[in-house]
């Protein structure tokens, strides 16, 4: 029985337990609900919690632990040579064991006997391989006997686990149900208990966000450390050549390419700069116009228009840049005699700039609106025109906040993926010419991780090092920007 089915059964059991608890509390109070400490529905919830929660915890722990434990058991069958081999080798071996174990339950009893015999050398492993291939388990070579033994052990223990798990879960559910049922009496403080459990649940839910961050940092950091064992950090951070080559199974470290971060970082910076050159003036002027000049009619129309820009999926911008905007720029360039390549810094940068206009404009709008009216009135009183007031009084007052908005927009631009994947090019290029293609950190993460993965090659792991770099940069920008914005807000509160 799969974990999902057990889960479904437990949920049904919870509903049943709720009604039983409800009924039971009425029974113990003999219909006089005034003598109950808690309302009957809380007794129902109390019983439902007792029924489901312990079983659910066991289910979760069991499901998470099953694979590692089974793998450990399978490893006991392996000879010392395998145990001593590298992690990569071990995971390859485990994959073979996995696929054999996947096939074992499908075999008929005789075929299964053949595989077992092959595991102890009574028949050749070729026979076992033939039997397995009949059931779509294709092995590259004749399996070692110990692999067959390990797979057998793995499959039989997994079978055992699959039988035991529902028994344990349902046993626990029934036992706890009985325990809770017996404890229902008028004086039971069911509401307080239920509320405590709820409180714990709410706290757990709010820590998911923290766990996610932790998960990001740990998983990416772990793989990055793995990467730095294969490629020295200095080569990564200060290398000027990006040429990862292809990963080949079992290839030595000599065959790996060069992983220089600098060209990618430069590409990212260059495109983001172009994007900011578009987004900052447009976004800022739009924000100024909307908050200082525009009447309500214009504002109610233009604000949603700008928000639509933020709501369009980035893949749509990417496709637009690839199909329409890139060729458009190229034709424009050709018309005035400049050679613009269809995917270039300019293409990706301008389209990305339009995408981040709303990030600049809406936050700047808020910030300009937050500048106290008294500053404006003081300036008008001195005879300044509206634009002079804006330029000399409001903007300087709002500057820290606007810088924060621009930094937030910059962090968006740096982390943006789909536009650059489709429109910036793939060749790592250290160039100052905005008409040439460059590539970015995000593009390389995508290209290193799509297609067939081999999880222990530097070609794959480098994506995590790039991801960590990206995460640290954007996080730094965000923290700093939010700090500035908050400080600015406090200034006028």
């Amino acid at each position: 029985m799969s974990s999902l089915a057990i889960l479904a059964f437990l949920l049904i059991a919870a509903v049943v337990a709720y009604f039983v608890g409800n009924y039971r509390s009425n029974a113990v109070s003999e219909g006089d609900s005034r003598i109950l400490h808690s309302r009957p529905s809380y007794h129902g919830a109390y019983l439902a919690i007792w029924t489901v929660l312990p079983a659910l915890l066991v289910l979760a722990v069991w499901s998470a632990a099953e694979r590692p434990v089974l793998q450990y058991i399978a490893m006991q069958e392996m000879p010392q040579s395998v145990l001593d081999s590298s992690e990569a080798q071990k995971s390859l071996t485990m994959n073979v064991v996995d696929s054999i174990a996947e096939g074992l339950p499908k075999l008929s009893p005789q075929e299964y006997e053949t595989v077992r015999k092959a595991g102890y050398g009574f028949v050749t492993t070729q026979d076992a391989r033939d039997v397995l291939s009949k059931h779509h388990v294709i092995l590259g070579s004749n399996p070692e006997p110990y692999l067959l033994r390990a797979a057998d052990e793995y499959a039989s223990k997994r079978e055992l686990s699959r039988i035991l798990l529902p028994i344990v879960c349902f046993g626990l559910a029934i036992g706890c149900f009985a325990w809770g049922y017996l404890r229902i009496r008028p004086k039971l403080r069911a509401r307080n208990i239920v509320e405590h459990v709820m409180q714990a649940g709410l706290l757990a839910a709010s820590t998911v966000a923290v766990l996610t961050t932790l998960g990001i940092v740990l998983s990416v950091l772990f793989e990055t450390i793995h990467f730095f064992q294969l490629v020295p950090p200095a080569d990564f951070f200060f290398g000027t050549v990006w040429d990862p080559r292809f990963s080949a199974a079992g290839a030595g470290p000599d065959s790996s390419g060069q992983f220089g971060l600098l060209p990618l970082l430069w590409g990212t910076t260059f495109i983001s700069l172009v994007a900011l050159l578009v987004a900052v003036p447009v976004g800022l002027f739009a924000a100024i116009y909307m908050s200082e000049y525009a009447n309500t009619k214009v504002r109610t129309f233009s604000k949603p228009v700008l928000e639509i820009l933020a709501g369009i999926p980035t893949i749509v911008y990417g496709f637009f840049a690839l199909i329409t905007f890139g060729p458009f720029l190229r034709d424009m360039g050709a018309a005035i005699g400049i050679d613009v390549s269809a995917s270039s810094v300019l293409t990706a940068g301008i389209v990305m700039g339009v995408m981040i206009i709303p990030f600049v404009s809406s936050l700047s709008d808020d910030i300009i609106n937050a500048v106290p009216q008294s500053l404006r009135q003081g300036s008008y009183g001195l005879g300044a025109t509206q634009s002079e007031t804006i330029k000399k009084v409001i903007l300087p007052a709002a500057l820290p906040g606007i810088v924060g908005a621009v930094l937030l927009a910059a962090s968006r631009a740096i982390g943006e993926t789909m536009i650059v994947v489709l429109a910036a090019g793939i060749a790592a290029n250290l160039t100052l010419n905005p008409l040439e293609p460059v590539t970015t950190v995000t593009v390389k993460i995508v290209s290193q991780l799509t297609g067939d993965l081999e999880f222990n090659s530097p070609q794959t792991l480098v994506a995590f090092a790039l991801g960590l770099t990206l995460f640290v940069i954007t996080l730094g920008l965000n923290v700093y920007a939010l700090y500035i914005v908050r400080k600015y807000r406090e200034q006028y509160d």
Binding site: T212, F285, G318, I323, Q386, R412, I445, V446, T450
Partner: protein, 437 residues
Amino acid sequence: MTDQAGILPGISVANESHKRLAKRHAAERRFRWYGIFALLFALAFLVFLFGSIIGKGWTAFLQTSAHLDVYFDPAIVNPSGSNPVDQDELMRADYTKLARTALYKVLDVNTDERKERFAANKLLSRGVDVQLRDIVMNDPSVIGKHREVWLLAADDVDALLKGSIDRDIPEARRGISDQQVKWVDQMVDEGMMKKRFNTGLFVNGASSYPETAGLGVALIGSFFMMLTVILLAVPLAVAAAVYLEEFAPKNRLSDVIEVNINNLAAVPSIVFGLLGLAVFINFFGLPRSAPLVGGLVLSLMTLPTIIIATRAALRAVPPSIRQGAMGVGASKHQVILHHVLPLALPGVLTGTIIGLVQALGETAPLLMIGMVAFVADYPTNPLEPATALPVQIYMWATAAERGFIERTAGATMVLLAFLIIMNSAAVYLRHKFERKW
């Protein structure tokens, strides 16, 4: 004297100040125009973007088909003559030949001329065999009978009828020969070939031929992912928001959670993809390309959005409601569960839809977890390989055939339509249930 001296320079001062004032006013007008230009620029870009996508994509909703009278020749479909018909045999039969025979008859093709035959063959899509096979598989009684069917025309024929192949350019560079053009015109004149509504775009799975490629698998994959997000992210986010807004004590832990959520909202989406790859696929051993994994990653990604929206909605419920409920003896939990949350529900719903919109349009993290896959069959559960709407757009955008450009734009229109519907729902909900306290 002093008066005189005062007046004369005074006039010049007045003149000068007039000039200066005019200059300042001009600067004022200029400044105002900068703002208008900025807004117009954004608007023009938006129009340009939508215009180019709709202009390129609307034709994708039409697809050229040929109306042919196909004879389901038993000698080809069921050569062994077994009764009931052997399913394996039906799977393997040469249906393309049936379609071609019917086409030769219509066009009067000299079947002894190899070249002519080849040219005629190229008018039909390479997917016609599947179309005919489905007919036979659904209704084996058709074997041995004639049946009029609409069969897909080839990519180039479709492009010709939609005008994306210019008839005036020389034959050699056109990709479709004069003879073929003549045939196509003949069939169009006789009403045997026309553009019909392209249902295949919505139901077909992946295909290497543009004319038979569709969004079916992507739509199902996206549906499974949205389902996961609704089932997972929404309850978690609402619970987290309730805790942070109503219960969290002012301490270090609450601060950490708070700062964390704000920063998580700004983490690049691709990093969530890395998390999914390392944790869900590599560590927990979930399958690649599975909508469940995609849904999990998207859930984590949309969590902060929904939390922030829900908190705003909770904050908007006035304290008097809470105090009133407490005054009649409700516990804190009862106040929230029975009064605050129901009143905040429209805001929570709006936030949920905004989170779903974000999740539906997201591509980058899905690329990391192997959603870039060639999936031709419908997934029946969230653990089977599928693609997603934006990922399908990405894959078609990078495909080489000309027909895919139109498909990509069409798929983009479908995606945008979904987003517009969802956003309108959010706006509608906000207006309908907006309450001024």
